[in-house]
Amino acid sequence: MINKLKSKDLIGTKDLSPEEILLILDTAESMKEISSRDIKKVPALRGKTIINLFYESSTRTRTSFEIAGKRLSADVVNISVSTSSVVKGETLKDTAKNLEAMNPDAVVIRHSSSGAPDFISKILKCPVINAGDGAHEHPTQALLDLFTIREKKKELKGLKVSIIGDIAHSRVARSNIYAMNKMGMDVTVSGPSTLIPVDIEKMGVKISTDVKKAIEGADVIIMLRIQLERQEKGLFPSIREYSRLFGLNTEKLKNAKEDVIIMHPGPMNRGVEISADVADGQYSLILDQVTNGVAVRMAILHLLTGGA
């Protein structure tokens, strides 16, 4: 059994071994217990400074990292940077060098450019944690998804997972595909053919543009957010048609397994990719994901920031 991660950073699940994924999930279990206490704080990262560097708006992920850091007694600093292209700000390189000069113990970054965490990880000596970069990876989301699935299903290996929606622009899909394949799960991606990226089958997934087939027999369904801008780019004709063909509702769910679980990384478009009754229904684990997100991020901060 390993007891630490080999890389300084967490850029993507692509770089993690199955043993490392299990280590994170197991560590997160004890972290979850902390969150259930009356006094939700342990001194593990006392005296450590964690910077949340967010170039994209985010409520859930930023708050989740902030709470995770604070429950471990770290000092958490939030930096929100406007990415307005009108005002030309400091380069990412200069920002990273300035942060380095303040000697942080971890930097959590979200950025609209794929590769931005990788870029700053080469400048910063401290761990860099990717909180979502472009359409590349969102590893903590995938890890909290795995944690949530394991909590419910006990065993990951052999589970059938369908990820439905805008696969092309989804960092959540990519991180989940890497992580789930490593854990021996069977992943199908589904959505309109215009939003399935080329050669994705080489990542080891099946493709189905028929959502009904993707739902049938799935143990886990992950719905992804659809963004309105995609319609303007001609990737689908209307929200109405998207919802009708690819949205998850009670009717489509009739084909699902009895014990299916439904997840969504948020924020949801109720009534678009997921109907309200399904989102709030008995199969939904959407709020469990949020709860578990804190535990998983505590585990990652703990493992990377030297609390041994």
């Binding site: 380069t91 950025h111 794929s114 590769g115 472009g134 359409a135 590349h136």
Partner: protein, 428 residues
């Protein structure tokens, strides 16, 4: 140059594809011209004769790069006519054609005059400006191509951008034909490539970067070939990167269409895999393609479909490339690495040394209609002498170019420029 001085290049393997010469010969130069080529030439020990011993070396016509971005006027922080031509010289090039996407754009006589004047004063190789097809490269109205021709441009192009309006491209071809100017086409359908930063394929899917499909290049190549057939204009397709485009050009040539094309060393050396790690020095337009495309480019070079090897030398300041991948500008430098990368093709058995030299000399000269690229008696004494066996390491810090944006930094390569003579004067 001292008047009446002579230079004698002795015992080199002389390769002059235009004259089908490939043998050990001597070359005698006087007053900037090649005056004699033959065996065991002597100069009767004239004290004014410089003798260059080219034993074990290859003596070729001065190399010609028909696709260079010199950046001046307007972007002197990236490159100047001085530094760009110094880079060309270091790479063995004696003549280069410079693209019009400067600031201001070379779409009128005054800019052409400026470039030629600067090149005379500060340039160290022959500079041939290429004019814009449309004013400001906007793709809306034709430039004054007649005036550009009389000012000295050797071709027209909107390089960096395509002329998306097919009617305007048709008229540009018809109009340029009156002046016997080739139209150099940057083939890219801007709708298909919109937002793209690398080749569309497995790597772009994994990296989460927007891809540019091969089709963006191929549909425009097909269009321009059709327009060339319609108008009878001389069409030259710039920086070919895809199998589809190679096939289209091969078929068009077989039909007798007046189409020629070039590729760049990076397209026959690297693939999209080079982008992994978000390497902005592997970002150019068109992008590095798949292994299959690379193979097709090599086949196209081999069977003669691809006439020319040109660099698309595109210098940028270091800080411009040291950013997030999607924010970095397209383009890499190439003048100081093209020769060894081309010689590697020869070593790998893809093309013969003679073909390689043709694609770097006489072929681009013919397309541009410039009186260069041969070692014929009476021609300008532009000569490059190569030491084919010298192994060296590419080091961007040693580049003469201001641009250090090369994906080949640190590569060990074989084949070094030994001597460069321009208009009879030894420059290196």
């Amino acid at each position: 140059m001292i008047k009446n001085s002579k230079t004698l290049i002795k015992n080199g393997r002389v390769i002059d594809p235009a004259n089908k010469i490939d043998t050990v010969l001597d070359i005698l130069i006087e007053n900037g011209k090649i005056i004699e080529i033959g065996n065991s030439l002597t100069t009767h020990h004239s004290p004014l004769t410089t003798i260059i011993d080219a034993s074990d070396k290859i003596v070729v016509p001065g190399l010609i790069d028909m696709h260079v971005h010199l950046r001046e006027p307007g972007y002197e922080y990236k490159e100047t006519i001085k530094t760009g031509t110094e880079a060309a010289l270091a790479g063995g090039f004696t003549s280069i054609a410079c693209m019009p996407n400067t600031k201001p754009v070379n779409d009128n006589q005054s800019v052409t005059d400026f470039i030629l004047d600067k090149a005379r004063k500060e340039g160290v190789v022959n500079v041939y400006p290429v004019g814009a097809i449309t004013k400001g490269l906007k793709g809306e109205e034709l430039s004054e191509i007649g005036e550009l021709k009389s000012a000295g441009v050797v071709a027209v192009t909107d390089d960096g951008k395509p002329v998306m309006n097919s009617e305007l491209m048709r008229r540009a071809m018809e109009y340029a034909s009156m002046f016997d100017l080739p139209v150099l086409s940057h083939c890219e359908d801007l709708h298909l490539s919109e937002g793209g930063v690398m080749n569309e394929g497995f790597a772009s899917t994994e990296l989460g970067l927007k891809g540019i499909p091969n089709t963006a290049e191929d549909v425009m190549t097909a269009r321009d070939i059709a327009l060339s057939e319609l108008t009878g204009a001389r069409l030259h397709i710039a920086h070919v990167s895809t199998r589809g485009t190679v096939n289209l050009i091969r078929d068009a040539k077989n039909r007798g269409v007046k189409v020629t094309c070039e590729t760049a060393p990076h397209y026959f050396t690297l693939t999209e895999e080079g982008v992994r790690g978000y390497n902005t020095n592997a970002k150019m337009n068109p992008p590095l393609r798949s292994e299959d495309d690379l193979k097709a480019i090599r086949d196209g070079l081999k069977d003669g479909t691809i006439d020319v090897i040109a660099t698309d030398h595109a210098p940028h300041e270091a800080s411009e490339k040291d950013v997030e991948f999607d924010k970095a500008p397209f383009g890499i430098v190439g003048l100081e690495t093209a020769l060894p990368l081309t010689l590697k093709l020869v070593e790998d058995g893809v093309i013969s040394l003679n073909d390689a030299i043709s694609k770097l000399t006489v072929n681009p000269a013919k397309i541009l209609g410039i009186n260069k690229g041969t070692l014929s008696v009476g021609s300008d004494a532009d000569i490059t002498i190569i030491n084919p066996e010298e192994v060296w390491q590419i080091n961007v810090k040693k580049f003469k170019s201001k641009g250090k944006n090369s994906p080949f930094n640190g590569w060990n390569v074989k084949g070094m420029v030994n001597t460069v003579i321009i208009n009879g004067v030894k420059q290196i």
